[in-house]
Structure formats: structure tokens, C-alpha cells
């Protein structure tokens, strides 16, 4: 079983528009509501790999119940702490003509101290039945910036493999507790440890610094089709030459899911684990809407992944 933590999930409302015109009337052709949030996306991709997964975090109100129902219908186990407030929604405007996705993201409901205590209790119990846990995404108001560090320590206490995928201070504070794998989320700031990732050398330096700070494996995405993977033993580039990509949303989460799946399967060598994870990301990128739903889809992508030692 692989657990995923989504502290700030959302109900993603996707509005399909022919061509977005600002300060103008826009007609919506299609509307779709789906459970969102980085950890939830990771759970969907893990399920796509036909592995058992459990989604944890905070949800609330009618939107929260919609998320829970959707996940259970997909075969994902849930154990969310239900809060007093309402789960946020994210509006995604899909401009078909320009093939662009514009995301309008809410901050999320306030989490109380009592909510945090109840969540810690759930998390600690669930770790007893898991091989790995992924900790992904932004923090809602009220959650301390060092929460990922606390959760990493609790998981390690129970012998669970930890994967951290977050941004800014929550990432850096989480890294202090030495997760197994750490991947900075660079979507908003493109910065880590106060430095910008502009060139390939910056990404390589960042990956090395993450390893030096205690993660066994560092993953830094550079441009959309390339990842840099570092360990104390070396550094690798993983990329794809496949050109028919239709959707980059959620590919980073599928990559994390791939690592969680691959590193909990005993027969996978390190390079094969990287290849499998990149294939998960590619399988996700080939889908316009939902996450991939079979392991075969991932396996078909394996030949398009190239890994090179630095």
C-alpha cells in the first residue's frame, strides 16, 4: 500500500473554451469537475499502475464528499480528516485554440490545531500498513511550515519510504528530516535555496545540494521533458523524445507516483525505476483529461525514455 498526503485538496473545475478572450464574453463548451490536488493526482496514477493506494489529508463540506466519492469509485482507499470548512475549488480554463491551461487557485480553508492533532493520529496509524508515502503540494492556512518534516519523521519511525514534492519553505524544512526522495516543485517560483533555476547547470547544482542536505535521491525537473536525478553515487538525465504530448498538467504527480511504485517493487534496479517513473509521466502527458488507467499504457511509453549518466 502506498499512502499519499494532500493537505490542501481541491475540486478542480475545468472550463473548456474555444479561445479565451480577456475582458470579453466567453462561452463555455464543456464543464467537468474532478478531484484535484497533487497528492490526489499521485494516488490516481498509482491506481493506474494497479497498486493499492490510500489518500489522506483534510477535506470538508460537499466538495470534500465529492472528492471522497470520486476516489473511492476509482478504487482508491480514503481516510481524510473532515474539517469544519469547505474544501477549495480550482478553476482551470482550457483554451482549446491556443492549447493553454490557465489555473485560478484558491488558498483553501483554515486548519485548526485540533484538525492537525486528529490528522497526525490518522497518519501514524495508516503508516503501519504502508510501504511508502508521498507528501505533496501546498499547505492550507493554519498548517505549520515544518509539517512535512514532522510527517517524514513519523513515517521513518515506522519504516516507511518517504517522498517529498513541495515548494519553498515547506520543502526546505521537510528536507531537514532527510526523506528518501525529494523533488522541489518549481511551478510558482522556479527557485530553490534562494537561487533561480534558469540553466541546466543550476538544476544540476540544486539536485546535488538536495542530496548533500540528506535526501537519498533528488529529482529536479528542467524544462518540461527533462528531469535530473542525483544520488550520492552519481547524476543522470532522463528525458523523452516523444512529440505528441497533449497535456502537461499532472505529469509531475505521475512522475512521483512512478517513483513510489518503482521503489517499492523489489525487482526494479535504480535505472529501471527512473525509466518507469518517466514513463508514468509520459503516459499521463498523452491523456487529455483523466489519468492513465492501466500499467500497459505506462509500459508502452518505456521505449521513448532515454537515460544518460552525467
Amino acid at each position: 500500500m502506498i499512502a499519499t498526503v494532500t493537505l490542501n485538496p481541491s475540486l478542480d473545475i475545468i472550463l473548456e473554451i474555444e479561445e479565451l478572450k480577456l475582458d470579453h464574453y466567453n462561452k463555455v463548451h464543456n464543464i467537468q469537475s474532478i478531484a484535484g490536488g497533487k497528492g490526489i493526482n499521485v494516488s490516481k496514477a498509482i491506481r493506474g499502475c494497479q497498486r493499492d493506494t490510500i489518500a489522506l489529508g483534510f477535506i470538508g463540506g460537499a466538495r470534500g464528499r465529492m472528492i471522497e466519492e470520486e476516489l473511492r469509485n476509482m478504487g482508491i482507499t480514503t481516510n481524510f480528516w473532515h474539517i469544519e470548512g469547505e474544501t477549495r475549488s480550482n478553476i482551470i480554463i482550457w483554451d482549446k485554440k491556443r492549447a493553454q491551461h490557465t489555473l485560478l487557485s484558491e488558498a483553501g480553508p483554515v486548519i485548526t490545531r485540533e484538525d492537525l492533532e486528529m490528522f497526525h493520529s490518522i497518519y501514524y496509524r495508516v503508516m503501519s500498513q504502508c510501504q511508502a508515502v508521498t507528501l505533496s503540494g501546498s499547505l492550507p492556512p493554519g498548517v505549520p511550515l515544518d509539517i512535512y518534516g514532522t510527517l517524514i519523521s513519523l513515517a521513518k519511525e515506522r519504516g516507511v519510504l518517504t517522498i517529498l514534492d513541495a515548494m519553498g519553505e515547506p520543502f526546505e524544512k521537510g528536507l531537514e528530516k532527510k526523506p528518501f526522495l525529494a523533488k522541489p516543485d518549481l511551478r510558482e517560483t522556479n527557485q530553490i535555496f534562494g537561487k533561480s533555476i534558469e540553466r541546466e547547470e543550476d538544476a544540476i547544482q540544486a539536485a546535488r545540494e538536495i542530496v548533500s542536505k540528506g535526501a537519498e535521491v533528488a529529482v529536479v525537473s528542467f524544462e518540461q521533458k527533462k528531469d535530473i536525478i542525483a544520488t550520492a553515487q552519481g547524476l543522470w538525465f532522463a528525458e523523452t523524445n516523444y512529440h505528441k504530448i497533449v497535456n502537461f498538467i499532472g505529469t509531475a504527480d505521475a512522475l512521483v507516483a512512478g517513483f513510489a511504485v518503482a521503489f517499492t517493487e523489489e525487482d526494479k534496479e535504480f535505472i529501471e525505476a527512473i525509466r518507469f517513473s518517466m514513463a508514468c509521466a509520459l503516459a499521463s502527458a498523452l491523456r487529455e483529461e483523466e489519468e492513465f488507467s492501466s500499467r500497459e499504457e505506462v509500459e508502452k511509453c518505456l521505449p521513448y525514455i532515454y537515460i544518460q549518466k552525467y
Binding site: I54, R65, E68, H82, M118, V126, Q129
Partner: protein, 150 residues
Amino acid sequence: MKIKDLMLRDITSVMPDCKLVDLIKILSRHKITGVPVVNKNQEMVGFISQHDLIKAILPNYLEIIDSCSIFSEFIQLSKKLKECAQHKVEEFMNKKVITIDDEDNEVRAAELLIRNKIQRLPVVKQNKLVGIVTLTDICRILLETEDSSS
């Protein structure tokens, strides 16, 4: 059909030291009538339902629920609940643990639900809680099977 293919993949549960006030919050927010009680390793140690609570706090309430004195008894129930708000679940839970393995089938689940007069049957895998099955779930599956065969 295997239980793992029809169960509700929900492992909402409480620890024996959970306070009654928190339990009621969980039941109300999840819109459910009872939850498994587990230890820190997710192993079942009991089950607590609204029914168990009322039976423990005001035993005659369930008997007089249809009578005309229900309102005065309701006030008493409310008062008693407030008094017990900080008490722990372990004082009220049913310690007779009835579970089904996720590899078992719907016939066995239906038998356990009916024989023990319970509404929610916890599902375990290697002794750890992995889901819940109800009679409604079993009826739904039976109907779907019948539909597809006809």
C-alpha cells in the same frame, strides 16, 4: 465476488482513547452511524455506533423512542451526552470484534451482517482495517449481477 471488489474503500476509524465529543463530530461530518475502533497498528479492537452510545448513556431511550414522552427523554439524552463528552470511546464500544477478510465473499458478509444484526462490517487484510461493507453494498452488487446476466 470477493469482498475487496465490492467494499467501500473507507477506513475512517477511531482509537479507543478518542473522546466522545470527537467521535460524534466524526459520525456527523462523515454522515455515518458507526466506526471501527483500532489500535495504533490499524488492528480492530472494537466497534462503536450511535446505537452503542445511546444504549450506554440512556438505556431506556431506545425502548421509548416511539412513545409520546420522547421529547423529555431527548432533553435528558442531550444532557447525558454533554456530561460524557470527554469520556473515552473504549468505555462505550462493543468489544466483540466482527470482521471479514477482503478475500472472502458476499455470501459470508451477508451472513455476518444479518446474524449479528449489524449495519457496517469492517473488512480486514492481514488483520488490518482496509474497508467497510454494508448490506446495501451487497444488495447493489446482487442487483448489478442480475442485470448483467439478464
